[in-house]
């Protein structure tokens, strides 16, 4: 492969050119109710050439390696066509040339587990859900594992061959009473250990009980509340509300955004620390090198409330005169790499959960991140469930808890950060730029936020 790609790159007429080739073997299965609805094994093979000339980019993706030299030429011609209009300097921050073949450090590799074992594990989980309570009318149990061999080479002389593993499962109990249907579940994943899906029985039974309880729970009343986010919700918040703002590709060409995201600007109180890391081994999204061949790192974004860094590709780093952070990631060979998060974390604080609760007259404890979205300034995300907080104590269970707010105001309104910690490796992913779902993860303690708007009947 090394010879093949470097030979093809010899014909590159561009300021920069790279080739990425991937082969992914995937197993997936889905139970819906009693049925094992889908089970499949697949082979996804393909590659791409990306070229930059005079500031313009060309990108060609394919499934066949035939005529690779021609594909290099096409990408370079496309880049030149754009470059002829832009006539700018090409920007790619300098990084060390790497020649390395890396074997994955996997604790338990999914390819060592037979299909029968995988089916049996999830059949047992499915049985737990369906046998838990008569109100549980169905289940949704999904599992996947992917093992991807990636070959990357560029005209700087870098050549990296690395294996990436991604494992995930999501298991939901669906409870129905009359016209009310609710769901609650467990989701987990890993980049290096099949064992992440094992031993989930007790957690799953708790989720089943919660689904049953949610049937009788009222919909939360809309309004403005003090909210405690559990680590999963806080992780979703930091990803959606701040992480995307830290991705420098949305800042480089936008002077107003550069002003808003000026390093040194205060975004929150001194208790607030946020970072993104590719080094949290085992977490979904971690890897040694990104999809431009840049080593990953821990990147501090907010330190003691002050903006200190952002996530970069080689291009965005060069345009802003900053250092690449190993954050250029592509969903697969059919996409060019763009700036993405890896494991995004809120640093541990010093407040206990009891301290967070004690002075809240009326508030909400939002639990379990269900999903969310941001446009840079505003965010919205939904909890799987919540509890009212009344007079400093957890009170009744509520459902349909959706939070919204202004990113900057909400960061400034974080007044307590917990002394606990949890990594959330749920089986979903990030959806930026239609490259969805890209494996990411989050880490956070409990976090308390003042004045959060909750949707619902007023």
């Amino acid at each position: 492969m090394k010879e093949l790609v470097f030979r093809a790159l010899e014909g590159a007429n561009a300021d920069y050119c790279e080739i990425r080739i991937e082969e992914t073997h995937q197993t997936s299965l889905v139970y819906r109710g009693r049925n094992l609805d889908d089970i499949a094994q697949s082979l996804n093979f393909g590659g791409n050439v990306r070229a930059q000339k005079d500031g313009g980019w060309g990108f060609v993706s394919f499934n066949s390696l035939a005529d690779l030299e021609q594909k290099v030429r096409l990408a370079c011609e496309q880049a030149a066509a754009i470059g002829a209009v832009k006539n700018e300097k090409s920007h790619m921050a300098d990084v060390a040339v790497v020649v390395q073949e890396i074997a994955a450090e996997v604790l338990t590799h999914p390819k060592g587990i037979t299909l029968e074992e995988k089916v049996n594990i999830f059949a047992r989980y499915n049985d737990i859900i369906l046998g838990y309570h008569p109100s549980i009318t169905s289940s949704l149990v999904r599992y996947f594992d992917r093992s991807t061999q990636i070959f990357f080479a560029n005209t700087d002389g870098t050549y990296i061959s690395q294996e990436k593993v991604d494992i995930g499962c999501g298991m939901r109990a669906i409870a129905t009473r009359g016209s009310i249907t609710v769901q609650e579940g467990v989701s987990t994943g890993s980049s290096n250990d099949f064992a992440c899906v094992l031993g989930k029985e007790d957690e799953l039974r708790k989720a089943c009980q919660l689904a049953v309880d949610l049937l009788a729970a009222p919909t939360v009343k809309g309004g403005e509340y003090t909210v405690i986010l559990d680590p999963s919700m806080a992780g979703l918040f930091v990803h959606e509300a701040f992480g995307h703002l830290s991705e420098a590709d949305s800042i480089t060409e936008n002077e107003e955004m550069r002003q808003i995201m000026t390093l040194g600007k205060r975004f929150g109180g001194e208790i607030l620390n946020i970072y993104d890391t590719g080094l949290a081994r085992g977490n979904r999204g971690s890897s040694l090198y990104d999809d431009e061949g840049v080593p990953t790192e821990r990147t501090d974004l907010i330190k003691e409330g002050v903006l200190v860094g952002r996530l970069h590709s080689r291009e965005s780093a060069a345009k802003m005169g900053e250092k690449p952070t190993g954050s250029a990631r592509a969903l697969d060979y059919s996409f060019p790499p763009i700036v993405r998060m890896r494991t995004t974390c809120i640093g541990r604080g010093s407040s206990s959960f009891a301290e967070m609760l004690q002075d809240i007259e009326l508030g909400i404890y939002a639990v379990g991140g269900y999903g969310g979205e941001t446009n840079g300034e505003m965010f919205t995300f939904t909890a799987s469930h919540g509890y009212m907080i009344r007079q400093g104590k957890l009170a009744e269970l509520v459902k349909d808890v959706t939070l919204t707010g202004n990113v900057f105001t909400t960061l400034a309104n974080i007044d307590m950060v917990g002394d606990d910690y949890l990594y959330d490796n749920n089986a979903g992913g990030c959806g930026k730029g239609s490259q969805s779902p890209l494996a990411t993860s989050e880490g956070s303690p409990h976090v308390r936020v003042q004045k959060v708007v909750i949707g619902g009947a007023n």
Binding site: D38, Q78, T181, S334, G455
Partner: protein, 430 residues
């Protein structure tokens, strides 16, 4: 294709082969600057096998990987889904128009010119807006054959114009507007898209405030999909057959306002969701899911149809039933009349996060990312920092005040404006 099917027939009782290949070219602007040209070649082959009532499947994208394909599909047979259906045999098919040779003839330079024209139009309105454009064309073919004798090929084209921009200011914060036209026919006229996007920027110029409460709300065609998404999720045959859906056992029941119908139409010429046969070889058609408020049918593939003892509806895909083109017929009011009838309310063109709730409960809550305050029948400014909440099951039954005569196609949907009364709006209280 025949060779592989013959080999598959030696290991299974039924076999089905789906082959797909496509070429796509796109030109894009980002932050008002020409960014990249992309070319994509895609090919994939999917094999499904049925043996002793179990279904196995595999997909490969690597050329000359027939052995892997057959091995993987055979591996999964032992554990696969229990099925009682048979793959359909040869049948007469009515092919809607989904191929336009003009799409294939558009040159890269013409695509660049079109994108440049869109950016220039937005800058002529306001040079501070950072424009985003994607002009893309695709040509592809897919072929389906099975051991029951079905064999068909479809060649199609797709044309996409995506256009929008962002405006960031210290005073008014972030404003994003994006719209698109997608179809199988060449659409070289960018005027409609220009006018829609520039009008949205114009309307959002000033900021209006809104207090929390209940208001009449008009959902624009671009946002109607958020409100009806729980209905489509619950009409999906998988949700019905697996017991997720509260619509199970309710065919023929009047569940919604009689002015509301939802049609699945795979026969519409030029629409991206149109096709003569679905992914499993079932002929497609045009039929009502909700007919004048009554739950009329579910979206069904071979598996869910067999489980529910109903006929498949031509909505099969690789991952269960999916809609083809969803159409909500218009009502009797014009959009202007709907607007004129509102003393204080909101027009919502875009939202964030509305997809993130539990669709089987009907609840939809989203941040209003692009919406305008209505005062005395006029749009007076953009609303921000607020969220709408509706329950699709109850609000589409009890609270529809009007559906517009005007409908707008976007991708595989065609929706009118939808006005609901008493929509909950949450916002900052100070």
């Amino acid at each position: 294709m025949k060779d592989l099917l013959s080999r598959a027939a030696t290991v299974a009782e039924q076999a089905e082969l789906f082959q797909y290949n496509a070429e796509r070219q796109a030109v894009s602007f980002e932050s008002s600057k020409l960014k990249e040209i992309t070319s994509t070649e895609e090919q994939s082959t999917t094999l499904r096998l049925i043996k002793e009532g179990r279904l196995g499947s595999s997909t490969v994208t690597k050329p000359q990987s027939e052995d892997t394909l057959l091995n993987y599909a055979t591996n999964t047979l032992k554990y696969g889904s229990s099925v009682s259906y048979k793959f359909p045999g040869a049948t007469q098919l009515a092919q809607p128009s989904v191929y336009d040779a003009r799409v294939t003839r558009v040159t890269q330079q013409e695509m660049l010119d079109m994108a440049t024209d869109l950016v220039s139009a937005l800058h002529a309105y306001d040079p501070n807006i950072k424009a985003m454009v994607e002009v893309a064309k695709q040509r592809g073919t897919y072929a389906l054959a099975n051991s029951a004798g079905f064999s068909a090929v479809c060649e199609y084209t797709t044309w996409l114009l995506g256009f929008g921009g962002e405006l960031v200011s210290e005073r008014d914060g972030f404003l994003f507007v994006h719209d698109y036209i997608a179809g199988t026919d060449y659409e070289g006229q960018t005027d409609l898209l220009k006018s829609r996007v520039i009008e949205s920027f114009r309307l959002a110029r000033s900021i209006a405030t809104i207090k929390p409460g209940q208001y009449p709300v008009i959902f624009a065609p671009s946002e109607v999909g958020s409100v009806v998404s729980p209905l489509l999720a619950c009409l999906n045959g998988r949700a019905v057959a697996r017991g997720f859906s509260p619509f199970k056992g309710r065919l023929g029941e009047l569940g919604f306002d009689p002015r509301l119908s939802i049609i699945d139409d795979a026969t519409a010429n030029g629409a991206v969701g149109s096709k003569a046969f679905d992914r499993e070889g079932t002929p497609t058609s045009k039929w009502a899911l909700i007919e004048r408020g009554t739950i009329a049918s579910y979206l069904l593939d071979l598996q869910t149809a067999a489980e529910l003892n109903l006929a498949p509806t031509g909505n099969g895909s690789t991952g269960g039933p999916v809609p083809n083109n969803i159409i909500i017929p218009g009502g009797s009011s014009s959009y202007d009349e709907m607007l004129a009838g509102i003393d204080e309310g909101i027009l919502i063109e875009g939202s964030m996060g509305a997809w993130a709730g539990n669709p089987y409960g009907g609840q939809v809550s989203g941040n209003i990312s692009l919406g305008y305050k209505i005062e005395k029948g006029r749009l007076v400014g953009r609303v921000k920092d607020c969220m709408f909440s509706v329950n699709a099951f109850t609000d589409l039954r009890d609270n529809i005040s009007a559906l517009s005569r005007e409908q707008i196609w976007r991708g595989n949907t065609c929706y009118p404006y939808l006005a609901l009364q008493g929509v909950n709006i949450s916002a900052k209280e100070d």
